[in-house]
């Protein structure tokens, strides 16, 4: 008497439980697949890649900045004019700090400091602006040798001239990332770089006038 009703409950319950198990199992599988796909996609969506404009900018601007640091330290150490020494130290320490920021980006993006593409390849028409490996505004080895050998007022003037060209080229590259980039932090830092170099330019020009360059 009880058996029929019990069997109904039993028959009705077990397939339902199986179906539930199957649903849970497939939900777990689907969830894992979705999570995996998301995990795969998220870094490439949120992190600049090896050939991105951001990575190219971080690498090339590091190189560009490194030379400004070299010129700035020469002026800081051996400039004859107090303001030239001050400007040199300011630019050298400021840009060295920015190198640290840019290198930290690359490391956090899981990228090497060295790219696999030629310099300036990230910027439209950029490759054509590289001469003997030098990016816009960079001093040639001969100009650097001249700066190292210079003394007194000659050094002051040469530094101010070379740094003016360097900043003009630098601002050109910064504009490149402001146009092509999308990473918010990169854009914010790039804008700060641009502002700094533009005010530097005014001070460089005024100092150059004063030193009679």
């Amino acid at each position: 008497m009880d058996a029929p009703s019990a069997s109904e409950a039993g028959d009705g319950g077990r397939p339902a439980r199986r179906f539930g198990l199957l649903a849970v199992a497939s939900a777990v599988v689907v969830g894992l697949l979705l999570g995996y796909a998301g995990g795969l996609l998220t870094p490439t969506l949120t992190r600049p890649g090896d050939t991105s404009a951001e990575a190219g900018f971080a690498r090339d601007m590091t190189t560009h900045h490194a030379q400004a640091v070299e010129m700035g330290l020469i002026a800081f150490q051996r400039g004859s004019d107090p303001e030239v020494r001050q400007i040199g130290g300011d630019i050298a320490s400021g840009q060295q700090g920015e190198i640290g920021t840019m290198q930290t980006w690359l490391r956090s993006w899981g990228l090497d400091p060295t790219g696999s593409e030629p310099p300036m390849a990230w910027m439209p028409g950029g490759r054509a602006k590289v001469r003997n490996g030098l990016m816009p505004g960079m001093a040639t080895p001969e100009q650097m040798a001249k700066l190292r050998a210079a003394q007194g007022r000659e050094l002051d003037v040469l530094f101010l001239e070379l740094m003016t060209d360097h900043h003009l080229g630098g601002i050109h590259m910064i504009q490149g990332i402001l146009d092509a980039g999308s990473d918010e932090d990169v854009l914010r830092v790039a804008q700060t770089m641009k502002n700094t170099q533009q005010t530097d330019l005014i001070n460089l020009q005024n100092a150059l006038k004063r030193r009679g360059g």
Partner: protein, 268 residues
């Protein structure tokens, strides 16, 4: 509330008991209907002569029922482990540390693995230093480094300064002085304008070209060898003891194999 709550437990046991009764009665009564799908053939086979063993057969059925979920969960587990494993492997392969990638460069010699003490760094020493490996890849060095701002030196430089540059993350490319000019030009193109690199001839090389980074060396025969670019990409800055902000400027820019005092850095 107080009325309905006691009423609940009273009802529940009846529900539970009806649920349990068939479960307990499965062996006996469940054999007929509970068989439904799978037990029917067993029932017929066992039912021929073995009527009294009916209680055992349903027990087997219930065991059979448990295998389904177990197999399912094993399958899900294997699949999940596979997915997670593959994901982990893909992530690992995608962001291999530079040390692993360096080890995969054909012909590279890793002195970090060979001599831990040699690659410690920070050992400043004045005057001439004798290096066992030439060109040297690490070890004690002069307090002044060789300028490594993409400098192209057309004459040999002091190893005592160059090793300091390696410590700062530079890749130092050296070539045998008899290397043809067009080959030298190809090396120069890789160095010019690239800070944390420098190029110089080196006397007594056993191969036409030798590349050095802190603790690493790779010797190749030809400037067209793609391993040169691989070496630079993998080890430039990465191999630095002091990180990416260690200076390459403010170094010795003069050539000559005799080391100079740190005080003479800006000369030449």
């Amino acid at each position: 509330m107080s009325i309905s709550t006691p009423g609940g437990p009273e009802r529940r046991p009846t529900v539970v008991s009806t649920g349990k009764k068939p479960a307990a009665g499965r062996p006996a009564a469940g054999a007929k209907p509970g068989a439904g799908k799978s037990a029917t053939p067993r029932q017929t086979s066992g039912g021929k002569g073995k009527g009294p063993k009916k209680p055992i057969a349903p027990v087997k059925v219930s065991q059979g029922r448990a295998w389904g979920p177990i197999a399912l969960w094993v399958a899900v587990g294997v699949l999940a482990a596979g997915i997670i494993g593959y994901g982990g492997w893909a992530v690992f392969e995608g962001s291999k540390p530079w040390e692993k990638r360096a080890a995969e460069i054909d012909g590279i010699v890793d002195y970090r693995a060979k001599d831990e003490k040699l690659v410690q760094g920070g050992q400043h020493q004045a005057g001439t230093i004798k290096y066992d490996i030439n060109p040297p890849v690490a070890g004690p060095h002069n307090g002044a480094w060789q300028n490594c701002m993409g400098d192209v030196y057309d004459a040999p430089i002091a190893s005592e300064h160059a090793v300091h540059s390696l410590e700062h993350g530079a890749v130092w490319i050296t070539y045998r002085p008899d290397l043809p000019a067009d080959q030298v030009a190809k090396l120069r193109n890789r160095v010019q304008g690239v800070e944390k690199t420098m190029l110089s001839p080196f006397e007594g090389l056993d191969k036409p070209i030798s590349l050095q980074a802190w603790g690493y060396q790779l010797k190749v025969d030809n400037a067209d060898d793609s391993r040169i670019d691989e070496f630079i990409k993998t080890l430039r800055v990465n191999a630095s003891v002091e990180g990416p902000t260690a200076l390459c400027n403010q170094g010795i820019t003069a050539t000559g194999t005799t080391p100079r005092d740190a005080g003479n850095m800006q000369q030449g």
